[in-house]
């Protein structure tokens, strides 16, 4: 009995110590990123331990410099963000247009080869990016899509489609098929049923899947690096920030301001769909 109460107390204490430490480890880098983006670089170099700077120390000059185009002595981050927004939005819309009908058909229609297609998507999910990177890079160079945002958008579909199909399928499986059957007796076609009944029912999942795709495309780095390195006017946020970091004369505070700018939209979107997103990603985990 004493063993039980001893362990219960011990675990309770350990639990709070652990959670406090973990929360600190998780949040501190983001806090540091924001603080460093607002202090002048001389202050960082002179006093690296200042974690709570004075109000009058703060400056927004760094941000002005990061966002301004190169012609005005800035680093052109506004353009990187526009490129990323265009590519990520286009890739997301295309993914949804392709993945929604396909997921619908895979969950409730039996057609020739439907089982094989299900297996194909599981296999594709397992295939790592670096293996397809070589031929996609070479092939797109030959097709003339290598150094373009169009080529990058198409390549991103390869990254967003498998996980989108997974999330949509596990949700659609839960919508009873009797609804579809009733509509079919009324003479509706499969496409009509999907558009008028299934899509509205699945809207929360569709939105969270779309935003997850957007995050993948916005955060992506390897394909952008392979495709766009030669053309600064097409750089996305990830590539732009890396190229900034490679330049010797660029200060750390500039890098931190850039990091804040590329992280903020993602955290905003994530805040909107946090609950739906975790449910969609873990669908099927309880069953193993």
């Amino acid at each position: 009995m004493t063993m039980i109460s001893f362990q219960t107390t011990l675990f309770r204490v350990l639990k709070w110590v652990f959670l406090a430490l973990l929360a600190l480890t998780v949040i501190f880098p983001f806090y540091y990123m924001v603080v460093m983006s607002f202090v002048p670089i001389q202050d960082l170099l002179r006093e690296p331990l200042t974690l709570v700077p004075e109000i009058q120390q703060l400056t927004v000059e760094t941000y002005r410099q990061v966002v301004a185009p190169e012609s005005e002595g800035g680093f052109g981050f506004a353009r990187f963000m526009r490129n990323s927004a265009v590519v990520a939005t286009a890739a997301t819309l295309l993914t949804m247009v392709l993945a929604i009908p396909a997921s619908y058909a895979m969950t409730r229609m039996r057609f020739a080869g439907s089982k094989k297609i299900g297996a194909l998507f599981i296999a594709v999910y397992m295939f790592p990016q670096i293996i397809i990177a070589v031929p996609v890079f070479v092939g797109f160079q030959i097709l003339g899509l290598g150094t373009s945002l169009v080529g990058l958008t198409i390549a991103y579909i390869a990254l967003t489609v498998p996980v989108s199909v997974h999330m949509l399928r596990s949700y659609l499986r839960g919508i009873p098929e009797s609804i579809d059957e009733a509509a079919m007796i009324d003479g509706a076609t499969r496409w009509q049923i999907m558009r008028k009944i299934t899509v509205p029912l699945a809207m929360p999942t569709i939105i969270s899947t779309a935003l997850y795709s957007f995050m993948i495309a916005w955060n992506e780095f390897l394909f952008a690096l392979l495709f766009l390195s030669a053309k600064p006017e097409l750089w996305t946020v990830s590539l732009g920030l890396t190229r900034l970091a490679d330049g010797q004369e660029v200060s750390r505070t500039i890098l931190m301001a850039g990091s804040v700018l590329i992280t903020a939209p993602i955290i905003l979107l994530y805040g909107l769909v946090e609950r739906w997103l975790t449910e969609g990603l873990t669908a099927g985990a309880e069953k193993g």
Binding site: M109, A133, V161, L241, E286
Partner: protein
């Protein structure tokens, strides 16, 4: 209407059914067709092409000029398998994969257990724990680099100030710190992934068995080890599989933190260097194919072991 259908002879009913089957077939393919076409174009063909390129002595200009018509050779495989850098990168990749897979799953599991009981602020804390996973890798990698900088990084400043270090440690530029640091970073970035899976699975767990165990006088540790963990095994197995696959070919994290220097050259970074540095496409492809084979063998062994363990 339906009664008239039912009174028709059996043959007519069967043809009606095959007609609806045919209609489903056509609608089904119109729905999956475009997706299958795109996936074939950007995933299936590239994989097959990698395989072919790995048997050719091809630089970028050869492929642009001759397409697939370059002469076949085994040189890429022989060169890859006999170079010492290759085996070293495989060893680094295995260490990196095993450590980060175990580390991120263990941390995610403990975090999910610690947050199992409701408390004030749990929702916010849970959302915050996912930040490392959703934030852009480039941004978090640069924050870590800044924090770990030997001259002005806050971690080194603290070490010198409070822990009595003589000088800052070059965490990302010196062996063996560099590999340990990228492993810690990777655990930090991916424990949230395991965390949300465990949190979902724990919510679905019935508490009856645990209460019975408590009545029988089980200690909290026994409850954790003999009651909860066995029920979490399917999740642990699934996560191990997913994390192993994802980490084994991970590129961006290490490329951004160290560029593959100081004993951190994992296989994916090596492939990238072959591709862009020497534009040796054949070697890069052979390297990718061997990686895929090693990964497949590892996964096969893993599945066999878990199957045997669940059988006994």
């Amino acid at each position: 209407m339906t009664t008239t259908v039912d009174t028709r002879p059996a043959g007519a009913r069967r043809s009606r059914r095959t007609e609806s089957e045919r209609r489903d077939n056509r609608a089904g393919w119109s729905m999956v067709g475009p997706l299958v076409a795109i996936v074939t174009m950007v995933i299936v063909i590239p994989i097959l092409w990698t395989f072919i390129l790995s048997f050719q002595d091809a630089r970028y200009s050869d492929v642009a000029r001759n397409g697939l018509a370059n002469p076949f050779t085994l040189d890429n495989y022989i060169d890859t398998l006999t170079s010492s850098g290759f085996w070293e990168s495989i060893w680094v990749t295995v260490v990196y994969t095993v450590c980060t897979t175990i580390g991120s799953i263990a941390l995610g599991y403990i975090a999910a257990l610690a947050m199992r009981d409701r408390f004030r602020g749990r929702g916010i804390m849970r959302a915050a724990f996912l930040l490392p996973y959703v934030a852009p890798v480039v941004a978090t990698a640069y924050v870590w680099k800044t924090m770990l900088n030997p001259q002005y990084g806050v971690i080194n400043a603290m070490g010198v100030e409070y822990l009595g270090w003589d000088q800052g440690i070059d965490f990302l530029g010196r062996e063996p710190y560099a590999l340990a640091t990228v492993i810690v970073y990777e655990i930090w970035r991916y424990f949230p992934f395991a965390f949300i899976f465990f949190a979902a699975a724990l919510t679905g767990l019935s508490r009856d068995v645990e209460e019975a165990a408590l009545v029988d006088g089980a200690t909290p540790w026994q409850k954790f080890w003999h009651v909860i963990t066995p029920q979490m095994m399917p999740v642990i197995v699934l996560l191990t599989l997913l994390r192993m696959v994802m980490t084994f070919n991970k590129f961006d994290d290490i490329y951004l933190l160290t560029g593959g220097a100081a004993g951190t050259e994992v296989a994916a970074v090596r492939v990238y260097d072959q591709l862009t540095g020497s534009s040796d496409i054949g070697a890069a492809s052979a390297n990718s194919v061997i990686l895929a084979i090693i990964l497949a063998i590892g996964l096969g062994a893993y599945m066999k072991i878990t199957k045997r363990m669940s059988a006994s």
